[in-house]
């Protein structure tokens, strides 16, 4: 990452010796268009048919804004939790040795492999008032299952590997001599972490945060079981889309989908730009 770019040797190379460029690129474009681009554009084109007034009425309805606020808010909290604990997990896995490390490293990917519906019912069973964890939390007055807190728990589960797996390679590449130099110059461990390690991790932390956040905003399967799904309180935006579809309110479902897509794409774009800026600022040492 921080290495200077290799000098390109501009030797005259033969033009396209390998065959299959037209075939593979053509196939890629056709397949991408048919299965992703054209279907996705259907959402935007259908929403144009609604007319601005109708569209605005749908997306500013209190139930819709409440669900969008909940989806994006809970995803933000979950992604922040994952940034903190993901950093600790990645750090421990890269820097320290302890028993069963390989096994623990492998289990970090569980949320990628475990179907979301299974995660959803398992978390609900754990945090329900009579569950393994819920029975201890209930006397403390903490209700997780069937509240927004449960949504945060499910979204934290879903997002964890994104942060850990983006941080690990950067931590492995991190030059320890710089830390040792900081220590020699009298920096405490905390100072060395804040001044030397954290600046190098920013771009990866941002990427991990963005990936976890983006995944959480659209998440459906793991959330609906634990959320309780009360309109205005614990109803996420994807669930509201499903509810509208079940009522044959295609216009309403499409309008919410467009708002979610635009917000997600804008956010990814913004974080990409931020990451670019961070890379150009801290990347070149």
């Amino acid at each position: 990452m921080a290495r200077p770019a290799a000098v390109e040797i501009n030797k005259p190379k033969p033009q396209r010796v390998l065959p299959g460029f037209g075939l593979t690129l053509g196939y890629t474009m056709v397949y991408l268009s048919l299965l992703v681009l054209i279907p996705l554009s259907a959402v935007f084109i259908r929403s144009l048919g609604l007319g601005w007034g109708h569209f605005w009425d749908v997306v500013t309805a209190p139930r819709v804004t409440a669900s969008l606020r909940l989806s994006f808010g809970a995803s933000l909290i979950a992604a922040l939790i994952n940034v903190v604990f993901g950093l600790i997990v990645a750090w421990v896995l890269v820097r320290y040795t302890f028993p069963f490390k390989r096994l623990i490293d492998a289990i970090v990917d569980l949320p990628f492999a475990l179907p979301t519906a299974v995660a959803g019912i398992a978390l609900t069973a754990l945090y329900a008032p009579n569950g393994w964890l819920g029975m201890w939390l209930k006397p403390l007055g903490i209700n997780v299952a069937f509240t927004p807190l449960g949504i945060v728990v499910a979204l934290t589960f879903i997002g964890l590997p994104f942060v850990v797996r983006t941080l690990q390679p950067v931590l492995e590449d991190l030059d320890r001599e710089v830390e040792q130099a900081a220590a020699t110059l009298g920096a405490s461990a905390a100072q060395a972490f804040v001044r030397v390690i954290l600046p190098a991790l920013w771009p990866a932390l941002l990427t991990g945060f963005a990936l976890a956040f983006a995944r959480a905003v659209g998440e459906y399967g793991s959330v609906i079981f634990i959320a309780g799904n009360m309109p205005m309180k614990s109803e996420i935006a994807p669930l509201l889309i499903v509810t509208k579809l079940e009522q044959y309110d295609y216009a309403g479902a499409t309008a919410i989908a467009v708002v979610m897509l635009v917000l997600s794409f804008a956010l990814m774009f913004g974080i990409n730009a931020l990451q670019h800026w961070a890379l150009s600022r801290h990347g070149g040492r």
Partner: protein, 293 residues
């Protein structure tokens, strides 16, 4: 390297290190291990007999069959696409390459529910092609084709994004040598490229398959939930759970959890065979950038 690591470990303050390890293990235990254990505990809560009765139910079997069928169609489709896209992107230079890579990753930024919705808008009774399909008595939505389409959409980037960095790292010297020795394009692909990328290919297929079999949101929107006909395993879990038939729900869920564990074992094996495959979460765009620098 390992010795230096040990020395620097020993040099660090031990209490801080133990605290961090404890925090990491506690977090992973609470958030990952406990839910996994809960699935099996709940599935076996009423004994092994009840567990096997739940799994042997005809509707459960129908859902297993449908899940296998859908994955068996969706994964090969994305496999062919992944190989073609990686060949074009990794072996050739052309304008708009970065845009293309970003577009391939696009389905990951789309909520699964919206992935289902777009196929309703296209093929549903009020959709663009709804009239045509009705006249010709073709069912897409609330039938197996819709489930397959939604699954292909949500698993679209998996294989391509594994193969692009792998093929880029491989370069094109091997292929050019084979061609200069007189091999045809197809021979070069089958005998040179494919063996070179086989671990990356299997890695992509493994991850794609896990998601295809476990997909819930997108499939839920297009399936129509017709028991025994359009219920995949995750949808069957939901139905059983909503009927308060917890033992049966967790029994079917435990099969999916076993699949997840097998996926993790396979993933670890492939990462052991080819360490560069690790850290496959980052967007393909970022990883290709890393390859270049």
């Amino acid at each position: 390297m390992a010795a230096a690591e040990a020395r620097s470990d020993a040099g660090r303050a031990a209490p801080g290190r133990l605290l961090l390890i404890a925090a990491a293990l506690l977090f992973l235990g609470l958030f990952l291990v406990l839910p996994l254990l809960a699935v099996f505990a709940q599935a076996l809560a009423k004994g092994v007999g009840a567990y096997f009765i739940a799994i042997a139910d005809p509707n459960a079997w129908a859902s297993v069959k449908l899940t296998l069928t859908v994955a068996a169609i969706a994964v090969p489709f994305n496999l062919v696409f992944g190989v073609a896209a990686a060949w074009a992107i990794a072996k050739f230079d052309f304008r708009g390459k970065n845009t293309l890579i970003t577009l391939i990753d696009l389905p990951f930024a789309v909520s699964p529910v919206i992935a289902g919705l777009i196929f309703i808008l296209l093929f549903g009774s009020h959709g663009w092609f709804g009239g045509y399909l009705k006249v010709h008595h073709i069912r897409v939505v609330f039938a197996v084709p819709g489930i397959v389409l939604a699954t292909i959409f949500v698993t679209f980037p998996f294989i391509a994004r594994e193969l692009i960095p792998v093929m880029q790292a491989q370069g094109k010297d091997d292929e050019e040598t084979a061609l200069s020795l007189g091999a045809t394009g197809w021979q070069t692909f089958w005998r040179v490229t494919l063996p070179n990328i086989r671990w990356g290919l299997m890695y992509g297929v493994l991850l794609c398959n896990a998601r295809a079999m476990g997909e819930f949101g997108a499939v839920s929107v297009v399936s129509g939930h017709i028991r025994g006909l359009t219920n995949t395993m995750p949808l069957h879990v939901e139905i059983l759970y909503n009927e308060y038939n917890y033992t049966a729900a967790f029994a079917v869920a435990s099969l999916l959890a076993l699949l997840a564990l097998l996926t993790l074992v396979g993933k670890s094996f492939l990462e052991w065979r080819q360490p560069e495959l690790r850290h496959a979460v980052a967007p393909a765009r970022d990883r290709t950038r890393r390859e270049k620098t």
